[in-house]
């Protein structure tokens, strides 16, 4: 057994950790000496409120833009926004938000990692009488939230399928879905619906679940290209995924042979549409989602009624109009 710690502690030369002991004592005195101040009245007047938002990830320009939309409106009112990154972990999201709920924000904006696992958080917020506005991806417990603001994701999937079918009606398609997330589930539902109804010649030859990031999508796409030599179209559920696909297609030497259609409308994807690589993306308007969500929160705080479901329309971005989205 290692006896060093004991030997050190019994050393008679000097008392152990004199500094730390004094520090400990001082800290304790400080702690005990401070009587508990009442929490600041955060639900009070404009200019003193604070809001919190938790995103499933901030490693995606979509959520950064959405955050900007929120922040812009909240800054205009002179209030404060705390932004939290859940890093795709439901448990981290739950813990982050319970930290925030303890501080009684005026409202919480929530982009759930997993649309089912946020229930405990929603209940905690309701008990603390804090309104929750869900952004981008819906949750099943609609009665626990004030409002849900999202793109029309089914429509986004439909647009993507239409664009793909028009360009390549006999396509052999791979779908890279991310089924933890309801927004992504909806996109795939819209996509498969239109493909089945309007383009009977097209077939879905592979479906795989992958997180919507470039680095996660790239290897999955490489494998699919290896497995299916006749694969000639892919629907990754978002722009970062599409960029991962383009990189995989280039690496496999099949540039131009595989059509990529996706959803998001980020600057990066628009650039790829102009230079070739991505065929189209159904553009969402994350800043708009953010500003509408913040607007709904302020309406509610002012006692005005708020729509339960706010759908933000999407537009198809192709080579024809991509230049507008590169700005």
């Amino acid at each position: 057994m290692n006896r060093q710690p004991a030997a050190f502690l019994s050393s008679a030369r000097r008392p152990p950790f004199p500094f730390l002991r004094r520090l400990l004592l001082c800290s304790l005195i400080v702690l005990v000496g401070c009587e508990k101040k009442p929490a600041p009245d955060t639900a009070g007047a404009a200019g003193s409120r604070f809001f919190a938002v938790s995103f499933q990830t901030l490693n995606n320009p979509f959520f950064v833009d959405l955050n900007d939309g929120l922040k812009q409106v909240i800054d205009e009112h002179g209030d404060r926004l705390v932004t939290l990154d859940a890093q795709f972990s439901s448990l981290k999201q739950k813990n982050d938000l319970s930290d925030v709920i303890e501080q009684k924000p005026a409202a919480i904006f929530l982009n759930p990692v997993n649309w089912e696992s946020v229930r405990a958080t929603l209940i905690a917020a309701r008990n603390a009488k804090i309104p929750v506005i869900v952004v981008d991806a819906p949750v099943p417990d609609a009665d626990l939230v004030l409002a849900q603001v999202a793109s029309d994701n089914v429509a986004a999937g439909r647009l993507a399928a239409q664009a793909l079918g028009d360009a390549r009606p006999q396509a052999k398609v791979a779908i890279l879905q991310y089924s933890v997330n309801k927004a992504c589930v909806d996109r795939v539902a819209g996509f498969t619906d239109v493909l089945a109804k309007s383009f009977p010649g097209a077939t879905i030859i592979a479906r795989q679940d992958v997180k919507g990031t470039s680095e996660a999508t790239r290897p999955v796409m490489r494998d699919l290209l290896g497995r299916f030599p006749d694969l000639d179209a892919v629907f990754p559920i978002n722009d970062p995924g599409a960029i991962g696909c383009v990189s995989a297609i280039d690496a496999a030497g099949r540039s131009g042979k595989v059509l990529v259609v996706t959803v998001d409308g980020s600057r990066e994807a628009a650039q790829f549409i102009l230079n070739g690589g991505i065929h189209s993306t159904s553009a969402q308007f994350p800043k708009k989602i953010g500003s509408l969500a913040a607007g709904a929160a302020y309406d509610h705080l002012a006692g005005k009624p708020v729509d339960k479901e706010i759908k933000v329309p999407v537009t198809l971005v192709t080579k024809a109009n991509a230049a507008e989205f590169v700005k």
Binding site: M1, Q4, L9, L31, A39, F50, E102, N114, S117
Partner: protein, 310 residues
Amino acid sequence: MKNCKAILPLLGAAVLLLAIFRALAPAFLSGSNLLDLAQQISVNAILAFGMTLVILSGGIDLSVGALLALGGTAAAAILPAGGFIAALAAGIGVGALFGLGNGLVTARTRIPPFIVTLATMLVARGCALRFNEGRPMSIALTQETFLALGNSRCAGVPLPAIFMGALFVLGSGLLHRTRYGQHLYAMGGSREAARFTGIGVARVEVIAYVLCGALAGVAGLIQTAQLYSAEPASGQGFELNAIAAAAVGGASFKGGRGTMLGTLLGAIIIGILDKGLNQAGVHFSFQYMVKGAVILAAVGSDVWRRKETR
């Protein structure tokens, strides 16, 4: 008691952090916030208790995050048909089973535990993703007993925190009051010497990994109940948080040194940091930097103090 003195610096660091965050976020020391803290650290602390056993043996277990996901998904799959007890048994059993695999391969071959448990991490993750094609599995609201594991309170204290406390007491008892604990310390100090004194080194090692796996299963059950759903893809990186808690708590990666109390304090310090930085409104990018710096400082000061007294 020498244990109490050895953890004095950790206690000091925890109190210091509490004081700092008390100044930055006024309601930080309120009762409800501290109870919330206890609930939040429970999953990481339970993983870290298991990790401490393995680290004491001179090993490491990278598979606990994946085992947490697998335990949770296995329980969620069994729950509707098999009921509460069967779900608990499935969650903990599957963790223990993979732990047994880790232990047997580590003890019987010369493959380093880092690699063995890395492989187990991948296999267990794959097994978890077999359930429901990788999609989360929700727990029906009628499974009240199971959901209570993560969400109920007993005398105002969240149940996960009570489980953490109970497992801490059991773990400390195992380390400091049983022959097994003595053997584990002896083996971690010097495997050869332990073998020559007649300790069944392989058996001691295997048991450490089995307990670590079983505790990962327990953590998986608690997480699943807390989130109302089992997520096959969850728990990624949790092994690193557990290792960080053990390291901050003074566990040595050479084996033979570390205590449950230290690990618990390590988990508390990391939990205070997470909570405090959130409540102080620190930008999330700085949170990582601060956390990294604190872990390095904590372990660094520990190493430095030991060297100085040599």
